[in-house]
Assembly symmetry: D5
Amino acid sequence: MALFHVRMDVDIPRDLDPEERAETLAREKKYSQDLQHSGKWVHIWRITGKFSNISIFDVETPDELHEILWNLPLFPFMTIDVTPLNKHASSIK
Amino acid sequence: MALFHVRMDVDIPRDLDPEERAETLAREKKYSQDLQHSGKWVHIWRITGKFSNISIFDVETPDELHEILWNLPLFPFMTIDVTPLNKHASSIK
Amino acid sequence: MALFHVRMDVDIPRDLDPEERAETLAREKKYSQDLQHSGKWVHIWRITGKFSNISIFDVETPDELHEILWNLPLFPFMTIDVTPLNKHASSIK
Amino acid sequence: MALFHVRMDVDIPRDLDPEERAETLAREKKYSQDLQHSGKWVHIWRITGKFSNISIFDVETPDELHEILWNLPLFPFMTIDVTPLNKHASSIK
Amino acid sequence: MALFHVRMDVDIPRDLDPEERAETLAREKKYSQDLQHSGKWVHIWRITGKFSNISIFDVETPDELHEILWNLPLFPFMTIDVTPLNKHASSIK
Amino acid sequence: MALFHVRMDVDIPRDLDPEERAETLAREKKYSQDLQHSGKWVHIWRITGKFSNISIFDVETPDELHEILWNLPLFPFMTIDVTPLNKHASSIK
Amino acid sequence: MALFHVRMDVDIPRDLDPEERAETLAREKKYSQDLQHSGKWVHIWRITGKFSNISIFDVETPDELHEILWNLPLFPFMTIDVTPLNKHASSIK
Amino acid sequence: MALFHVRMDVDIPRDLDPEERAETLAREKKYSQDLQHSGKWVHIWRITGKFSNISIFDVETPDELHEILWNLPLFPFMTIDVTPLNKHASSIK
Amino acid sequence: MALFHVRMDVDIPRDLDPEERAETLAREKKYSQDLQHSGKWVHIWRITGKFSNISIFDVETPDELHEILWNLPLFPFMTIDVTPLNKHASSIK
Amino acid sequence: MALFHVRMDVDIPRDLDPEERAETLAREKKYSQDLQHSGKWVHIWRITGKFSNISIFDVETPDELHEILWNLPLFPFMTIDVTPLNKHASSIK
């Protein structure tokens, strides 16, 4: 298994059709929740004051992670930064 | 309760006495594990390839977090960056 | 209680309808003053030469702060940076 | 009167004599509290997780501010950034 | 009196009406020269190769400076950075 | 399998004992070549004009990569940045 | 021969005609694969989570590399950074 | 004639002999004042809160400026940034 | 005489009329070549992989250089950075 | 042939033996001048106000350039940045 720290900063263009906007956000939510239920999208937190999240993914490979991120409904409006993580020697888990 | 994302980058000086170094690292580990058992230091991950960790804290207030960080045995050798987090509207937890 | 240092940089698009612009700025002012009267938005200062402010918030939790910031009428046109603060040991207050 | 936002990041060298260190920190505290009592050093907050503070000064002129900062006992070990502030049009004070 | 170093970087949108552009630049010039004659805008230099200037202001307070900058005809198209200055101990003036 | 792009910038302290320096560099070379022969350290290139390399690793997991990097003989003198990679849709391999 | 590390970050404008977009991407793929078959475009990897690639070129001269990059169908929508590489003394190849 | 904006940030090492320090600062002051009297070092201001100055030089050529800066008694302890300036079209001087 | 290192990064808007674009590029080329023949624009090189050049100018004064740069046909679409240079003590020229 | 733009920033440690310092600088000068006479080190300019140079190299390959730079007597005290260049379409040379 492979752990990744992912930061997503969202910037939806002002002129996006409101219906398309609402529909994209709804699809994004469902897409995220399906992956959370599957155990691959382990955590998602909002950054205070920003249209951004910090997430933890637990996937088989970087290829699987890229596949997930590339298909995010909000992908065209996001800047994404991926940092690989490891179990820490001090972790009690 | 208040969630915080904390990144710690460690830079131990080369000329630190090896015994002091070992003893400080041991105290750091115990200090971290006590706080993990208490439920305040919720996650700690190593960043791949770096003497750095990313941690999640769940504390009562920023004051409590500062008290915890300020007393880290490695504090004098760390650069620490704190980002406040929130529950995300898409989170299933 | 939790103290936060918040910097807001405003960038209103040139093609925003002037009436919408004026109305948004008026709502922003009222929104801010209501929160100042409630004691949650403790300070707001203009940065000299910039369409930016530095503010201090005193809230229950980061969640409450995010709720406040996310609902700012100017939120879609702002970049916001949040830094958690603590009482300083040298403070006489 | 003139308002200034001042950030001070402290980096005390590891090899500073412990007595000199303690004495300098004590002088810094007294120096700061005297200026707080005089009304010139209006606020001082600790930044969570850092040996840094954010302060607000209310002085007659930038010259007076420079005089104050230059004579901080910790000045040789600090990086200081000064940002001029103004009363904000939305402020209720 | 209070001295400030001000850098202004100008970025006029390509689609600004040419007449409005010419008229704004003319008003900017007059506005600047009036303040130069008053002794408040002490120096203005062009940065070689850029649509930018570095200026020195000598004003009563930061509030007065902000008032001046906020009302620059080009203000909506400028990025402005303000640095407070002081008389230097080596200056012969 | 998991592909990673790794940049290593080396900064050996001037006062390192020359023998220790030579011995560390020799161990680093052997360590790298063993991993190259094993197929895990797929590429290593020197960056022109710098004491730095860019490498490609093909490992089972980020944990395995961290284990490899953490045990580099030059690790204490390196800054390491890891970027996860994927097969590219246009790649003919 | 001359080795170069090339990073390409793609940012296709949202309002590009979808047919032109699809046709440009198809031409880009063929262009890249032809150069891969010729042995000049030695590697191409996707950066996880980004519309970016990291590539290695092996060309006769920087002039040849520039010619190749300048004629990429996606060139007008790319930011390209080129770093010259060398054989590493520890490389077993 | 040629105008240059020069920023000098001073960082005197803590272990410099106090006498050498005092003597260097005295020579720096005299050196600066001689050049001010000659009309070449037109302005020197202290940046509030920093061991830094911003200066304006009016010299024959960049070569003359480099000669002046290179021979500053504090040169070995300074970071210097030079920006060429021009008369501004709005200047009344 | 005065030597300057000038970097020009070009970013022509996508919606510029193709004829205006071609005509501007042609004027830029002629403008540059005239100045090269005059001996003022001493060198111009393309940066590999970028719509950018690095140039060396040899002019009487910074004022003359600004005049030249300000009138570049591509000036409205360029970011320009100017660094003053000097003859190097090791140069054999 | 291959053209490269090289910037070298020199930072000689204060505690380097003065004789070794003088000897290294002398060797650096001779090394540079030999390469200038050979036609490989085409230009070297001092950056005004800095212990830095900007140089142009004309070499067979990046490997040859790296060999030259790696063997600079001042290499251990330098930060070097290499940018590949090309003949510019507007160049008259």
